[in-house]
């Protein structure tokens, strides 16, 4: 799987290339979330991933696929959220999530239980999203952008506030557009860190393991991202 964990593009640094050269973060701290880390007992998803790997190695593919469905169900919503915030296009985010899961299943043999599954999976997802962003930027140089994201925005605001009054709908839509534009203006690393911490519900320690950045660097990026966002949004989202 390491082959997939590389470049970030733009000003992003390679996701998965550790500054310290270590493969994953150190021992888990006292937090409840940090318990997913190597020294502690593996989380449910990590156990499941190990089971799937064993099944695949035994050649019991049907059973492996069935169990993999459970794993997908566990991470799907979070993954879609991260991918959507990254790509701002529902169809593309959908594809990115699918690709990430298919890649996980294809490379499940290289999964090591020492890694929390969530970290491993998120790295794959983020790399896919970054690749898509890069290719989109390349494409946008030559092609006039479509209205996919606008359609998504409209669908989102319509679905979110179906019974709300039009003024509120419009305000919500404006707010989202403003927020998305502000997040898009963040520096590559800051955006990655902010997305993972904020929309991916990851701790700085987990983000450190995913991105290969030091935990203190993650904290600095996160702080700068939040400060910049507050400046761009005028203190209000």
């Amino acid at each position: 799987m390491n082959g997939d964990l590389r470049t970030v593009g733009d000003s992003d640094r390679a996701v998965g290339q550790h500054e310290s050269g270590q493969q994953h973060a150190g021992p888990g701290g006292g937090s409840a979330r940090a318990r997913r880390f190597p020294t502690a007992a593996p989380a449910e998803d990590s156990k499941l991933a190990v089971e799937i790997r064993t099944l695949v190695e035994r050649g019991e593919m049907d059973e492996a696929r069935e169990r993999f469905g459970e794993l997908v169900a566990m991470h799907q919503r979070r993954a879609s959220r991260i991918a959507f915030q990254y790509l701002r296009d529902a169809a593309e985010a959908d594809e990115a999530v699918q690709d990430a899961f298919v890649k996980v299943f294809t490379h499940i043999g290289s999964y090591r239980e020492a890694w929390p599954f969530e970290v491993w999976f998120t790295r794959i997802l983020i790399n896919g999203c970054l690749d898509r962003r890069k290719s989109r930027a390349r494409r946008d140089k030559w092609v006039v952008a479509g209205d996919a994201s606008l359609a998504d925005e409209a669908r989102a605001s319509a679905a979110a506030s179906r019974d709300a009054d039009p003024e509120r709908k419009l305000l919500a839509r404006e707010r989202r557009e403003k927020m998305a534009a502000a997040i898009d203006r963040l520096d590559g690393r800051q955006r990655t860190v902010f997305m993972l911490c904020h929309f991916g519900d990851c701790t700085p320690k987990e983000v450190s393991a995913m991105t290969g950045l030091n935990e203190s660097t993650v904290r600095v990026h996160l702080f700068r991202a939040a400060r910049k966002l507050r400046g761009l949004l005028g203190g209000k989202p």
Binding site: G29, G30, S31, A32, R33, A34, V56, M61, R65, F68, G69, V72, A73, Q76, R77, S80, R81, F84, Q85, A90, D94, V97, Q98, F101, V102, F105, T106, D152, R155, A156, S157, A159, A160, R175, R176, M179, C197, H198, F199, T203, P204, R219, L222, F223, A226, R227, L229, R230, L233, G235, K236, P237
Partner: protein, 208 residues
């Protein structure tokens, strides 16, 4: 109790991150927050801002990725991994023939044999067609040569039929004129009526 030094923004943010991760806030900072109203207000504002950003983002993506859509996505993933680790099925062509040859364990030579036969058939077909066409041409040429003087004679020596020939020439001219007129006329049905009213160059020229 008033403090002279307030907590730096970075420290406040660390407090927020620690609280979100479920960690204990750094004791000196926690103590300061408890004592200093200004810092407590700044902290509350920060927490409100960050929570609002997250809530906004989450509600937006949750509105797009509805349970139905997630279910469809899950099915799509299941469909895509269905073929993982399964050897690809090779479709043989032509089906019957290859199946027979595979059972006779000559699978590698059969396609070559088929290709060779097809090429030979094509070559023979082209050769036969070409020779037939050639023969027809030769036969026609021979017939023309044999008939040649008889055919040419009436054209050269039929002086009596000059009037008939000029009549046929006039008929040909009229026919060609009609053709030209038809081509000049607009093809759109709606414009034909306008065309009828419009004088044509040809008519004006003829009148002059």
């Amino acid at each position: 109790m008033r403090r002279t030094h307030h907590l730096h923004d970075e420290r406040l943010f660390d407090c927020y991150v620690a609280a979100r991760a479920g960690d204990a806030i750094d004791p000196p900072s926690a103590e300061h927050l408890a004592d200093c109203d200004d810092c407590a207000a700044r902290y509350t504002e920060l927490v409100q801002f960050m929570d609002a950003v997250r809530a906004e983002g989450e509600s937006e993506s949750d509105a797009i990725f509805t349970p139905d859509r997630l279910r469809a996505q899950q099915q799509q993933i299941a469909r895509r991994i269905e073929h993982v680790a399964r050897p690809a099925r090779v479709l043989s062509f032509p089906g019957q023939f290859v199946r027979r040859t595979i059972s006779a364990s000559t699978s590698r030579t059969a396609p070559r044999w088929v290709a060779a036969a097809a090429a030979a058939g094509l070559f023979i077909g082209i050769a036969v067609g070409a020779s037939f066409e050639w023969e027809t041409r030769v036969r026609e040429a021979q017939q023309t040569l044999a008939r040649g003087p008889q055919v040419r004679r009436p054209a050269m020596f039929a002086a009596g039929s000059t009037r008939a020939a000029s009549a046929s020439d006039a008929a040909d001219d009229a026919f060609l004129n009609e053709l030209e007129l038809a081509l000049e006329r607009p093809r759109t049905r709606e414009l034909v009526a306008f065309d009828e009213f419009t004088p044509h160059v040809r008519e004006v020229r003829d009148q002059q």
